[in-house]
Homo-oligomer: 682 residues x 2
């Protein structure tokens, strides 16, 4: 490629490779934080049907922080109940259990399904809106080379990553789309089986055409380019793990059936013919995951693609669901996959090039986890890259991405491995049938896995962004701690701090309750006030502000907060931004709303005055016992003392990261000194 010198060159702060859910989530953060970013994808159009469809409660909470949960919630099918069907003594399947599909009371949302194409649509609209139409998905663009100048990686202002990009022709970039089963094309699930030959072809074809490339110098690169990630291979990293013998077919159909639970999520174990999962979807469609016992991998461990047809998959489903009838006229999509659980060896190179999503973890799709965990990778990473790029946060926080997310991928693989084994296994005939899977064990695994599968159990370990003591996994070296010795907290001190708000575990996402705005009495889920705009929040649980003793404590805390040397005043702000653009202070008090007055009872720093627009009426809330509706009583839910309150910090991704008393201001200051760039007030 001697033409390199002639290619146009440009700089960009953040380059995102791949515009699937993980890449779009990363782009979304850049849009919300005002970062100069580009996102490229080799496909020339978005997904129309099929692919991932499961949406966790936590993904909805994240969508809400970005502003489009309502659109997804409205279109999605909500999964309320899970039915288990197993062989009875006569070998005929019957419903053995009904379980709630979502753990009750943990989230405002419910587990749902909606196809990936719609979710990508919501992302695109959101990115357009928040980037003011400056970030576009550049489709049909393929990366060809990646170099990191190691001499520059410690210089925050440098552009150490150089990427060569090439624009494909329409024809080259056309994705494989299967509109219906009448246009039959074979397809093994791309996220799990790695066939790299198509893509290599593409690169070779593309390289034959000179003069349509460009060279981009980036501060940061985020590779979200799927299980066959070009970025991962360019870095020389690998996925470790193994494939299994289980082969599954997938049909998205409008079923014609007398099976009574076809609109319920069902796990069906037949006596001899394998297992079937039913996932009812939007627009009358039902997704069926069907075990294909007749398709056996060859010696190399791969299944013979040519054997797998929609008819073969349907036939397998009919055998499993018998004596009920199953057929269809309309098929929206179909595919087949072989379960493989793999995790990436590395999550980043020099904290300048990052990998996310399927590029660093693959697993079976049946638990509906893939798209969620992938999006949550970049929901974790995006704000960190954005704040470092803006000079607000220290570069060192970037190493928490790998330590936090690799642990989640490991947990996912463990969960998926167990779940897949239990679901693919033949049901035990009786207690003596050691080779069969116990249906009780399957049910119990499902119930236990449900909280995990909701995405609500994620709990990050100690590091410079999470002020807690190092946990057991980190001590034994299984997890990774990036925390400096100076920042480490003793288990005793942490236990004391956590006891101030046991319902807000440090490391987990800020659980939502409803509180009322002090000024207008409007109820809000507090999570709605933790928008994804890159801000940390100091949530002051002010307790009983009408008690003179407590008021004195609040006044003293606010005095420290308002001092010229406090983190709130010295957090680096970009030119022209408002004082609370880096850290926002929210207050939730527990006094009687009607007897409390915003202007009289709260120090100004809690409701700042703006000479153009007056007082800020959106910062102070009340835990009003008269308004519950199932999510009220904040202090009780969080386990916070109603009289004395406490102080809680939430990171920009809503994870609780520090808890302390109102007197612990110095430690709070130290927390922010550890992760943010605190300069003199501009």
């Amino acid at each position: 490629m001697a033409e390199t010198e002639q290619l146009p060159e440009s700089n960009v702060d953040v380059l995102i490779i791949g515009a699937g859910p993980a890449g779009l989530m990363a782009a979304c953060w850049m849009a919300h934080c005002g970062i100069n970013a580009r996102i490229v994808d080799k496909r020339n159009s978005k997904i129309f049907c099929g692919q991932a469809d499961g949406l966790q409660c936590r993904s909805f909470e994240i969508f809400d922080s970005l502003g489009f949960a309502d659109r997804a919630w409205k279109e999605a099918n909500h999964l309320i109940e899970m039915c288990m069907w197993n062989p009875g003594a006569d070998g005929i399947i019957r419903r053995s259990d009904r379980l709630a599909d979502t753990p009750v009371g943990f989230s405002r949302y419910q587990q749902c399904v909606l196809h990936q194409g719609r979710i990508e649509r919501f992302f695109l609209d959101n990115i357009k809106k928040y980037s003011k139409d400056t970030i576009h998905i550049e489709r049909g663009v393929l990366p060809e080379s990646l170099e990191i100048d190691e001499s520059k990686v410690d210089d925050a202002s440098a552009y150490p990553v150089t990427i060569k990009l090439r624009r494909l022709t329409e024809e080259e970039a056309a994705p494989e789309q299967q509109a219906n089963a009448s246009k039959i094309a074979d397809g093994l699930f791309r996220s799990s089986l790695i066939y790299e030959d198509d893509e290599e072809d593409l690169i070779q074809k593309s390289q034959a055409r000179a003069g349509t490339g460009e060279v981009v110098h980036a501060k940061y690169v985020i590779g979200c380019d799927g299980a066959r990630s070009w970025t991962r291979r360019a870095l020389g990293f690998e996925l470790h793990g193994e494939a299994t013998d289980f082969i599954w077919g997938v049909l998205d159909i409008i079923p014609i059936t007398d099976f009574p639970d076809i609109r319920m999520r069902c796990a069906i174990h037949s006596a001899e013919h394998g297992s079937l999962m039913v996932i009812p979807r939007e627009n009358k469609i039902v997704r069926l995951y069907i075990q294909l016992k007749e398709v056996v991998p060859d010696a190399s461990g791969r299944a013979d693609r040519s054997k797998i047809t929609p008819d073969l998959i349907l036939h397998a489903a009919q055998q499993i669901i018998s004596p009920y009838k199953l057929d269809y006229e309309y098929c929206d999509w179909w595919t087949a996959y072989q379960i493989g659980q793999r995790v990436g060896t590395n999550y980043d190179a020099h904290e300048r090039v990052f990998l996310a999503g399927d590029a660093v973890h693959t697993h079976s799709p049946k638990a509906g986890q893939g798209m969620n965990v992938s999006m949550q990778d970049t929901y974790n990473l995006g704000w960190k890259v954005a704040l470092v790029t803006k000079g607000i946060a220290k570069q060192s926080i970037l190493k928490t991405y790998g330590s936090e997310r690799r642990q989640i991928a490991q947990d996912l693989i463990t969960f998926d491995h167990k779940f897949s084994r239990l679901f693919s296994g033949r049901p035990a005939k009786d207690l003596m049938d050691a080779e069969g899977v116990s249906m009780e064990e399957f049910k119990s695994a499902f119930v236990k896995g449900n909280l995990f599968a909701s995405g609500l159990s994620v709990n990050y370990g100690a590091n410079e962004l999470i002020a807690k003591s190092v946990d057991a996994a980190q001590q034994t070296g299984e997890g990774e701690s990036t925390i400096s010795t100076a920042m480490q907290m003793s288990p005793e001190l942490f236990a004391k701090r956590q006891a101030l708000a046991v319902g807000l575990p440090v490391g987990m996402r800020f659980n939502s309750v409803k509180v009322l705005n002090q000024s207008d009495a409007r109820p809000w889920h507090i999570q709605k006030k933790l928008k994804a705009n890159g801000r940390f929040r100091v949530v002051l649980f002010a307790g009983n502000i009408l008690s003179a003793a407590q008021k004195a404590r609040v006044d003293k805390f606010c005095e420290a907060l308002d001092a010229p040397t406090s983190f709130l005043r010295t957090a680096a702000t970009t030119a022209g931004s408002s004082p609370d653009s880096v850290i926002e202070v929210l207050t939730i008090h527990s006094a009687k709303r009607e007897e409390t007055d915003l202007l009289r009872d709260f120090p100004e720093v809690l409701h700042p005055f703006n000479p153009h627009t007056g007082w800020d009426y959106d910062k102070v809330y009340v835990d009003d016992a008269s308004y519950h509706e199932g999510f009220g009583d904040a202090y009780a839910t969080y386990g916070i003392d109603k009289e004395r309150g406490c102080v809680v910090v939430a990171r920009p991704d809503q994870h609780v990261s520090w808890i302390g008393e109102l007197e612990d201001f110095d430690d709070l200051q130290k927390y922010f000194e550890g992760c943010l760039v605190l300069g003199p007030k501009p």
Copy 2:
């Protein structure tokens, strides 16, 4: 105008004049029902700021039936509490009361405010979507003449109305927009004060330019062209009523103030300086309605426009709100108006040209009723015109529009007259102060008026669409009944029928409860299943379907329903439409969900089979006592016997229109024979 013969001519089923909220609602129905319709407006752009902003609970329910309540709900400011401020013994204002702003438990929604421009935006998007981009707002188009060929008005297929339209130049059609108070222009509230000179000018200017007109022949015309309605004047109809001496200013500002309740809805009566209403809005804006005691109408009853400036209005507000301070930097909009309550003499001409909205009723804006009642006029009218145009309903139902809506306008005027008088009056100093207004009386009027103001109390009288006995108002001739003698029901029979479901009063909108879908256990507000698509719904409260005796009753009712001669089978359907495109049957049973099976326990007519897509899983619901969340227990809420159930009909606008036992099929058949065209099954 000798050029008339040369103008292009065309036919249209429905022509709507005016694209404000009333006109857009009418166009929305045409889009949802697939009617060939046009909508024209003389302005060349939509509203950017100011104007109406109050949204009733009922308007949200209606928006939800069209599919965009969520957008309005998300952007609107929600009004939770109303605070009353009155002079104390010392003459200084203080908060005397807090009241809930919305009557509790009546609706899923809350009273809200959002400016008219956003609501028009939602309508435009919805019309575009449902009309498949075939209905566009034709802006800058002025009607010039209207003729009705009376010989054709009884012929359903005729186009008896001829309208001449003329396209204006950009300049002519520019609406008056006041972006802020620095660009000061005087403006009296256009909906309430009638100055026709501007429009006459426009018409004269327009007539000077030949060759840009057209002639349209319409089956039906809906005039929604505001208080100065051209359509009304073309028909020679008038508004009757009177103006008052009270003059009010309006400011939409971001207030800078120490008044503690500035983010609450407040009614402030000062001792001497007049009254002030505070309406907190979206985006930090607050709307203030300010009594202008210093501006006095002249001998003709009109106020001197030139005297009214934002400074004068602000000064008046400062005097009322004293000793609190009030100022602003940002003003979004301002205007002034004189209260006038007027109702149109006629609502239609030959049931071919209809008037709606401000064209037939004007009143003060403070109670936030105007836009709501206007939209509800055409929500009442639109489906009737659509169904008659499609040949589904009889032409005779069109006369129910005037009888139903004129009564509402009268009620509104009465409410507004009383409310305005009490709000504009000086507060009484003590019990002996006969000239002053009692603050207790004001509070009591407000509380009583609140249900009315929510839009939920509308109760239509007996007519061919509402199967009930003629009420007192109709008997004394105050209300108008369009019901034929043959259809009249005795008060005794009606009382017996209504007793089957006292919580669903015939004539009122179908109150919503949450029920679960039998097939997938998903909770739904039942109103969500009463979408605005022109269908009548027969809601079968099937009772305890697991009891053999009750099952026999249900089977018998369904047998009649499914017979070739039943209204369900003989309702005229347009070619190619599905069997339930005119009347849809929904079922809510009260047996235990887990013991009930859709396919086993319910006759096929309740969940029809489609050879392409299988069974219909969206028609049968269950009153599941385990799932309440404040809106459950349907049978108890509706007062329906859990064992025996009953049958309820909802019109396409969600109003309850017939109630009977499962044995009253013949009477139900008669109801539909009265209003629909029932032919042989195609």
